[in-house]
Symmetry: C2
Subunit: 501 residues, 2 copies
């Protein structure tokens, strides 16, 4: 636990030095220093910021130091952006200075065959008790303290002279990103920022000569802001450590893993990327299953699963109610649920009778299909969705709801969005939704559902896969006897954070 606490200095250091800071605008050492300088000036970063460069007196108005040994006071974090061969000397100085943590951005180590150089810096760090992220990584982004070691500038200037958002930093939220690939990491930030999904912490660990994904997950287990961990890995070197820690974490917080290098050709590519030696993919499958880690099958499922788990409670069974106003997409959702091992069973007689009553009373369309899926047909209205969702939530044999609210039908407006959210808030079962389309009303509908805590997806299959993750995680928690505890925590949190309807 003590070692885990030490990792805190990566996220909230009292002081940081950027070694290799420069005035040259295109350089990583400039972008990273500027991030800290700006955040310091804006009052977001509250610690001390020191540029280190023997050739400059000051950078962006901050006094520059020739080496870290000249910096007054203690140093909690150093960020290293100098060429690989200079890194051991810096690390020796860091050891002398009793630095707590180091982020080594520099590449040119194990991933290109320079394993000896990497081992050398790892040995220095170990002896001095310095915890290291990297080398060959992007480091940390944490919006609340203003720690931002990403050398990818937020905006770019096109040849036209236009400045556009290039590497956005997402808002703060519930999801932690822990990634071996830096490039995939920033791509994730770009994706999540665009979809308005917030993150708690971002950690890119690259060659992981010291701090592993497992240790980082252990740290995040105790991080109050993190509710879900998204983990991108190309290999896991310390299998036992991973099994032990992942098992512990997943009882409290879901871990979603995207493990690249499944194929032999992919593994070969991974070896030259982060020096990863992946081994058999089946071993990873087994390790993930054993520890309750949810393995995403592709990028989209990775993000979608994270979104669903952060917004909705897990399902306590695998029978799903499908509620739709569009027959075709309803069938597509059913197909995908079933192909993931879930069921879409005909409702109990009691539920069917209640539906019949609603049809007899003309609350629902006379010709609506109601045996699961429930298809409200082209006659759908906002009220019908609310009534039908409520009835389905009440059905004891329905463990979660997949709602297809295609906005195109004439009688449907946007009133039902709040209505369904109100209904869903009464129950502890999960609901996910889909609307199809890429123009105004589709984007608006999905955005509103997201804001009300009901995760929305652009295709029936995406929604079905998200529900599958909620079912898988629920089953794992139940098997390990901690479903009630998790659900209780989740509902407590939801009642606190839910927007007032």
């Amino acid at each position: 636990m003590e070692e885990t606490e030490k990792l805190g200095a990566f996220f909230k250091p009292c002081s940081v030095a950027i070694i290799g800071a420069t005035k040259k605008i295109d350089k990583a050492g400039h972008v990273i220093f500027r991030n800290f300088a700006n955040n310091k000036n804006r009052g977001v970063f509250k610690g001390e910021v020191y540029p280190v460069n023997p050739h400059e007196d000051s950078i962006l108005g901050f006094k520059c130091y020739p080496s870290i040994t000249e910096i007054p006071g203690e140093l909690e974090l150093i960020v290293i952006v100098v060429p690989a061969k200079a890194v051991p000397t810096i690390m020796e100085e860091a050891a002398a200075k009793k630095v707590k943590t180091a982020i080594i951005i520099t590449s040119g180590f194990r991933e290109i065959g320079n394993a000896a150089l990497e081992d050398q810096i790892a040995a220095i760090a170990k002896k001095a008790g310095i915890r290291v992220l990297g080398p060959n990584c992007l480091g940390v982004y944490y919006s609340k303290t203003g720690v931002d070691t990403l050398f990818l500038p937020e905006t770019k200037v096109l040849t036209t002279g236009d400045e556009v958002v290039a590497t956005p930093r997402p808002l703060s939220g519930d999801i932690a990103i822990v990634t071996q690939s830096g490039a995939f990491g920033v791509a994730a930030l770009d994706f999540l920022a665009g979809r308005q999904i917030g993150i708690s912490k971002f950690v890119s660990f690259g060659n992981k000569c010291d701090v592993t994904e497992s240790e980082m997950m252990h740290y995040l287990l105790y991080d109050k802001e993190t509710k879900v961990i998204l983990l991108y890995v190309e290999d896991i070197k310390h299998g036992r450590e991973f099994l032990r820690i992942a098992k512990k974490v997943t009882l409290k917080k879901p871990i979603v893993a995207l493990k690249a290098g499944r194929s032999a050709a992919g593994a070969r590519a991974a070896a030259s990327h982060t020096g990863a030696i992946a081994g058999s993919d089946k071993i990873y499958d087994a390790a993930f299953e054993q520890t309750g880690v949810i393995r995403a099958r592709d990028m989209e499922e990775f993000f979608d699963t994270g979104k669903a788990l952060s917004m909705q409670p897990p399902a306590m069974g695998k029978n799903i109610g499908v509620l739709t106003d569009a027959g075709g997409p309803g069938i597509m959702a059913v197909d995908e649920l079933v192909s993931n091992g879930l069921t879409v069973e005909r409702f109990s007689d009691a539920t069917l009778q209640e539906f019949q009553r609603l049809k007899d009373q003309s609350v629902l369309p006379k010709f609506a299909a109601t045996s699961n899926p429930v298809d409200l047909t082209g006659s759908v209205t906002d009220d019908m969705f609310e009534v039908a969702a409520d009835l389905m939530f009440r059905a004891p044999d329905v463990h979660g709801i997949l709602l297809l609210g295609l906005h195109h039908l004439p009688g449907l407006r946007e009133k039902y969005i709040e209505g369904v959210a109100k209904v869903a808030a009464k129950y502890s079962k999960p609901i996910v939704m889909c609307d199809i389309g890429e123009t105004e009303m589709a984007l608006y509908t999905r955005f509103r559902f997201d804001k009300l805590g009901i995760p929305s997806f652009p295709s029936p299959e995406d929604a079905a896969r998200a529900m599958y993750a909620l079912v898988s995680y629920g089953a794992y928690l139940q098997k390990n006897g901690c479903a009630d505890e998790y659900l209780c925590e989740f509902l407590k949190r939801r009642s606190k954070t839910q927007p007032v309807l």
Copy 2:
């Protein structure tokens, strides 16, 4: 062929009557009539337009007729929007009037058990030689002639009073949509319009009491504007007809099928949707494989495959070159290619030597991985992508290129987009690309590539699946000895339509 030609009246009728036209704004009969009235007034629809309603004298300034028998001159198309029980009488009148084609929007037939009523109208049509789309369908949308029988209004007014785009009509383009599900059909329009992908024709055929998906595909085979057919079906009733026609069409134009109702639960849902009796899913798999129809595994793959096939030539082999500036996403792409049965083989010695020469000359980064995937690393520049792509296109053992141009890296701007498009235009091999992100520069990058004819995708796996479709279709054409002819036609078309670079 003669029967096929007759279907032309659905798309370019000299005269159309809307039976059930009304002034009531929320009604399907109003929306459909208004579509024609507006398109007539704007000079897009050049035929005669007749509203039919015994209770009105005129609608939107058009003289209204009590029945079609009172309409002067011949009628090529009628659109029926009256209740189910009134449809047989209308059809009898249509027979007397010698109407060529009828679109029956009305539902309440086989899909809810009223098979007899449906058989009755089918018999009247058959006897009179009237070709029928529907019932229980949305009919036709064809931008060039202004035929638009979609009763889903283009915009909706929210409760706030704001008017937003709800069911957009896409621009004209290369892709035909042929769909059994109307709701999925309009969702497709919404998706494609938002992604700025144009369509040639849209046909929703619902219960298909007369015109089948197969006949429609046969019509589209001879439609010059259609290059790719996207087919959504829940069942195919006339198997032999489908096999015969699909086999003929796919030699000239790719067909991509999304067959819903794969699962037993999904098939049950389909039965109550369009009265579909799907039968075993394996039979469909076999039929599609035998006829060269590419089966999409989900909605996104359906659209992505259509996009790729409309923009790029098929691949004449299955070995793919992966070119990336981001290691992780490169590995993800390789994994997905391989899991689809494609290969990402180490380049030949000759190609490797050329890459080495470029590295020695500092044209490419010294530490770039170049054995396939080619990873230009964080040091990437626009020029490097062009040079590397050219070399990979030249390699005889590379049959297609998957480009991952993650825009986040500092040295990459947007110049390479045109550069790569220029390189690609020199070769007859396909290229697909991916950039990850949902904010400005990612959207801009993907949009630009699309406009230059290189299909872009938001995830590595989506791009890999699109490439898989290009390889599958290429293999089918080769097996059937018509790859050269198709490729020749494709390249001729590309040289005519390619934007000037």
